[in-house]
Symmetry: C2
Subunit: 321 residues, 2 copies
Amino acid sequence: MTNIKDLAQMAGVSVATVSRVINHHPYVSEEKRQAVLEAIESSNYQQNINAVHLSKGKTRLLGVVLPFSDHPYFALLLKGIANEALAHNYKLVLFQTSYMESREIEALQMLRQKQIDALIFCSRSCDWSTIEEYLSFGPIVFCENMTGKPVSSTYVNHYDVFFKALNLLYHQGHMQIGYCIGRRQGTNSRGRALAYTDFLNQYDLPYRLDYIIDECLYFEDGAKVVKQIKQMSSPPTALLVTSDQVAAGIMTCCQKEGIEIPDDLALIGFDNQPIAGMMDITTIEIPHLEIGKNLFLQALNGWEKAHQEVSATFIERSTTN
Amino acid sequence: MTNIKDLAQMAGVSVATVSRVINHHPYVSEEKRQAVLEAIESSNYQQNINAVHLSKGKTRLLGVVLPFSDHPYFALLLKGIANEALAHNYKLVLFQTSYMESREIEALQMLRQKQIDALIFCSRSCDWSTIEEYLSFGPIVFCENMTGKPVSSTYVNHYDVFFKALNLLYHQGHMQIGYCIGRRQGTNSRGRALAYTDFLNQYDLPYRLDYIIDECLYFEDGAKVVKQIKQMSSPPTALLVTSDQVAAGIMTCCQKEGIEIPDDLALIGFDNQPIAGMMDITTIEIPHLEIGKNLFLQALNGWEKAHQEVSATFIERSTTN
DNA sequence: TTGTAGGCGTTATCAG
DNA sequence: CTGATAACGCCTACAA
């Protein structure tokens, strides 16, 4: 492997000059520049990026923490981040955590050790106190409302969105509304849970534990939901489903089981994924790509803390009355 | 940021000794070890990983090239790789290419610049001649049959699998068989195309261009397929669909359109994804996780070239006769 | 415009 | 067992 020292010798200049032409610095005579360029060409020179990293203290590597990449929500977030990273010549290091705290800590460690310049948490399991220990090692940004904390965040106000959706169903005549969610933990899920209880209180509706169905992530989870509903003596007449995939699965199963949609069961999905369009599912669109883009930019400008709320759009289709 | 020089001073030893205890080398007196450990503790020392990389010439970073991560096939491959990477304390750098050659080349460049130790191509667009230029910079492994080339590969014999599936359909009485595929390019797709034409020739069946439907990747693409089929004067009676997601989409649309499955249209999916189980779709199981694991191991043991064929399993369910 | 030399933080070799 | 010291390859004052 030839290095800049070799190049310097070949071109009859100093290493500094070689470095200058490599990094497109001004103040290099055209003559020497050509000599260096020629040396690079003929020697098949390749910069050792690790040396650059060591010297500069930066890697142009950005960490992305997410539980799994095969769920459309995270896959789209990832795509949004990746697009912007590409534009800024950054690469992504992926941390698939399965919600395991230990893997999140691995990511934080890499930040601490300077192997990545910044870190994006698309979702997290660890406490804020854990995060706090690593704040000084580089920018850490979040896809959940972190207002008040000394970090940046881009998020959807899930409380609001949920509350509005519930109200909408209520005004369509539904008194028995349930919801399906991926997991109960997490800021976003808790925001939704709060909206749900607040909604129930507002209209003096009973809180029914079995109206909340969790671990709903994929299409096939729709089967589980329908099965559970069928066993209820007084099933919900409407369901808020936090993923269009699951909503589609529910719809498919309902057809088999003879449950009419929306008459027997109204459905509101989330994300406005293509599958929702195809199956004509009422849904709430979340601008994943935009969120991903913003997360990246916040990570890039780590010093200026900001909290950006993005809005969701209601898209009415045939699964609501 | 304190470094090992500082530690050495604090502990009253040399940097070499500090390095030894950090790297758990033998031959360090317990006394000095303790001194160093204390210094590390009190100084909140953190190793600068970039310096280690430069010194060792390795990064414990592995590149993974795939077109998109939101497709179950690639997401599962990725998961398999990630699992094994975790076990070996490697991290993954993701290259989402959208089949763009330029991004594949970025990945190859990172290998050349030693920012990653090895590279896995889950799918590729670039020519072998391009790959060839980078062979000397580190292990490159493929998820397609690369027998004869000086690299490692783990793959499914798609020709065989396709041929067998077609024969099965034929012996169930189907003479008009079509197939849906993600894209026409790529070794795997070409293997399937070849199996298809060989099959047709074997039974002297006509080659109908419109029986081959490409760009079928997601559930929602099923709508497109059904629409196309409905327009044909003589539609296929059976369809080989290279993704269960798409097969499920087709099935869903067929129900709407009153097309009976399997009587009007038999369906064989691919991958044995959960959705296939839920919808009782006949499918061909591919051991993605195992393939991912093997790809990782091949990348790790880059010097020994190997080509491993993994087998697929036929799972008969209700979408075939 | 150019070159020298020191620094980035570790690892590893080689004497002792 | 331990410590100098030379790599690793590049960047960048600083001096010329």
